[in-house]
């Protein structure tokens, strides 16, 4: 019973696979997770990564300044492709931001307790991805000093936003999503911040964690309301996460542009978002667990579960691609048919086939147990999926806009150097925030992980022996 298990990838219906490896008491769990924050110095790789990503993030800020001074002409956005990179990046980052809430909310409601190892990561990733996402439409509006026109604030023109426009729905959807994800993340973190507060060895740490922990003292009367509030948040976030990318897809689907005006868009976008989000969680979790020795909490079983989600959602995305083609043919609409043939064989076919090979073919290797248990394969596959999902948005936005109804207004979109460096810079911003998070905040939900250990369960009645738990 007290044997420490180090492999949990077995499939035995009579034995519950343990979710925490190598630990048989709470003390060592606290020690090991807090070490990420308490180590005198982070690993060398952290400094290297932080230097690169913060340099890129700084460059992004410079470029935004340049954009504000020079105007949106610094981008490749041109008639007829007015949306260009900013909107591609927006949809890409919002999509990435979906796995966090999916893991925290939907897996929580389905009592998938393996989520505890990765949920904090994924939630943090969501927040930072939504920050990157929100930035792009914000700067894409051109006259940034008028950004308040997005909100229903009484203004000097006595005009209001147009609530029948999906672009405005987007403001509300993404705004709500960011707020609720932040609440979810922070609420989940309160008990762990209290743990860091109580272990703090300097006055500064004690005060900062103390303020962030809001004076949490683990009272069971508090836990009672806390758990209830957390459950409610999960129940609210579940429809929310499905609605957000649906609303993003309405930006396209509600318009009349061939290739956009399809009813499949909401479910197709949501699945794609989950797909890319899980891939990003994997891309981040694999190096993090190596560098900080979190292999006991983000176990092989967690990674394997994620590969399965990626396989499933990748296959659904592939199905959606083929359904788009089927409907384009079946609808009998000339423009619709052209839009899709043009996607696959037209001037952007290179982007289309990058998308298909990364999103549809790559995840298929996860049918094999060997691929599901090989870290290098997983890592490469997750990177390819990220690339593929960026190209999916590129294909959707650019191909449809560049060649719609009127051949005389067709064009070819070419990004400028500003476009490309802003995309790279947004990765810098994302990674900077993420690296700071790893260093200063609890990376794994300590309290929740303890709660899924067999030692946390008091047996039925007063018979609190643990035989029936393992």
């Amino acid at each position: 019973m007290s044997t420490i298990i180090i492999d949990n990838t077995f499939e035995d219906p009579f034995r519950r696979a343990p979710l925490v490896l190598g630990h048989d008491n709470f003390t060592s769990v606290t020690e090991e997770i807090c070490y990420v924050n308490e180590a005198p110095r982070p690993p060398k790789a952290w400094y290297v990564a932080f230097f690169i990503s913060s340099a890129l993030a700084t460059f992004l800020v410079v470029l935004i300044g340049y954009l504000f001074v020079a105007g949106v002409g610094v981008w490749g956005n041109q008639n007829p492709v007015m949306w260009g990179f900013p909107i591609v990046n927006f949809v890409f980052w919002v999509g990435i931001g979906h796995a966090g809430t999916l893991i925290s909310a939907i897996l929580f409601l389905f009592r998938q307790r393996w989520r505890t190892g990765i949920n904090r990561f994924a939630e943090a990733m969501t927040i930072f991805a939504v920050i990157c996402a929100g930035m792009f439409p914000g700067i894409h509006i051109g006259r940034v000093w008028l950004a308040y026109w997005l909100f229903p604030i009484p203004n000097q023109m006595e005009m209001w936003p147009q609530f029948r426009s999906p672009l405005l729905w987007d403001v509300f959807a993404v705004g709500t999503y960011f707020t609720v994800s932040l609440l979810f993340w922070y609420t989940g973190m309160i008990p762990d911040l209290a743990t860091l507060r109580d272990r703090a060895n300097t006055k500064l740490k004690a005060m900062s964690y103390g303020i962030l922990a809001l004076g949490w003292r683990g009272s069971n009367r508090h836990w009672h309301r806390y758990e209830r509030a957390y459950l409610l948040l999960a129940a609210l976030a579940t429809p929310l996460v499905l609605s957000v990318h649906s609303v993003v897809s309405f930006d396209f689907a509600v318009s009349q542009v061939p290739g956009w005006h399809t009813t499949i868009f909401p479910p197709y976008f949501v699945t794609g978002a989950i797909f890319s989000g899980f891939a990003m969680v994997m891309t981040l979790a694999i190096p993090a667990r190596e560098l900080w020795g979190l292999k006991n909490f983000i176990t092989m079983r967690h990674l394997e579960n994620m590969t399965k989600v990626i396989l499933l959602t990748g296959t659904i995305v592939g199905f959606a691609y083929s359904m788009e083609f089927f409907i384009a043919w079946y609808s009998g609409s000339l423009y619709e048919k052209f839009a899709f043939i043009n996607r696959a064989f037209g001037q952007y076919s290179w982007a289309y086939w990058i998308m298909v090979s990364c999103n549809v073919l790559t995840p298929q290797i996860f049918w094999f147990k060997k691929a599901r248990s090989s870290i290098p394969i997983m890592f490469v596959a997750s990177l390819l999926v990220n690339v593929g999902m960026w190209f999916e948005r590129f294909v959707i936005v650019i191909t449809s806009l560049s060649q719609d109804y009127l051949p005389s207004s067709w064009g070819y979109f070419t990004p400028t150097w500003v476009d490309i460096w802003m995309l790279i810079g947004s990765f810098g911003l994302f990674m900077t925030l993420f690296l700071l998070f790893i260093r200063f905040l609890p990376v794994i939900a300590i309290a929740e992980v303890k709660g899924v250990m067999p030692q946390a369960h008091v047996g039925h009645g007063h018979d609190h022996h643990l035989e029936d738990e393992q």
Binding site: M1, F163, W169, L183, R228
Partner: protein, 212 residues
């Protein structure tokens, strides 16, 4: 942890074994346990002894402890539902007022009228409920989520950065690996010597008096 301690053999240890606050008012008595199982049994005993002002402090939510402590379900969900409805109403009224009414509203600022602007576009009706649904939905969720967290903190009396419990050095482990039970001095049944003996009978690792 190979074996969780079984039912304690009830025997009150001599009082001098405990750290005590020499004089003055105390906040309460705190007993320390090392497993959720031991705490659960203790909680049931304290509940059955009829104490009202007492609490357990645990590093994670211990399943079943609510029942052992006799905590009544919170009304939080009902209030969150009401706030969600308020969000839905807000969404409906906001969109109707701004886009499909010419209603005048005094903003409270001198010289400024806030009025609706009937907005006709593409021959669509000014007041079309289906197009309002996304914003109504988002505001429902937003209001409900904010109230769920806000009311949870309010009912819990948080943020409260100071608490007598924090004076105890041992208590730092309440967020790590130890399980505490505190009986407050304001409880009508609280008599220090009796409570101390009672807690001692629950077989804790230690008992400590908390200064107020």
């Amino acid at each position: 942890m190979s074996q969780v301690p079984v039912m304690p053999t009830t025997q009150a240890p001599p009082p001098d074994e405990f750290e005590t606050v020499p004089s003055g008012k105390i906040y309460g008595l705190m007993a320390e346990f090392d497993t959720p199982g031991a705490l659960m049994i203790a909680a049931e005993r304290v509940r059955d002894a009829g104490y009202r002002w007492w609490d357990c402090h645990t590093p994670f939510a211990v399943h079943g402890l609510d029942k052992a402590m006799g905590i009544k379900p919170t009304i939080l969900p009902i209030l969150v539902f009401v706030c969600g409805l308020a969000g839905a109403t807000m969404g409906t009224v906001l969109q109707w007022f701004t886009n499909s009414s010419s209603f005048d509203l005094w903003s409270g600022l001198p010289g400024i009228m806030v009025r609706g602007y009937e907005f006709f576009i593409s021959g669509k009706p000014a007041s079309s409920f289906p197009t309002w649904i996304p914003v109504i939905f988002e505001l429902t969720i937003l209001f409900a989520a904010l109230s769920a967290v806000g009311l949870m903190l309010l009912f819990n009396g948080l943020p409260r950065l100071y608490h007598p419990c924090f004076k105890s050095k041992n208590f730092a482990r309440a967020t790590d690996d130890r399980f505490f039970l505190v009986i407050e001095a304001r409880d009508p049944k609280f008599v220090r010597s009796k409570a101390e003996a009672f807690l001692g009978s629950l077989d804790p690792l230690s008992i400590e008096a908390l200064e107020d």
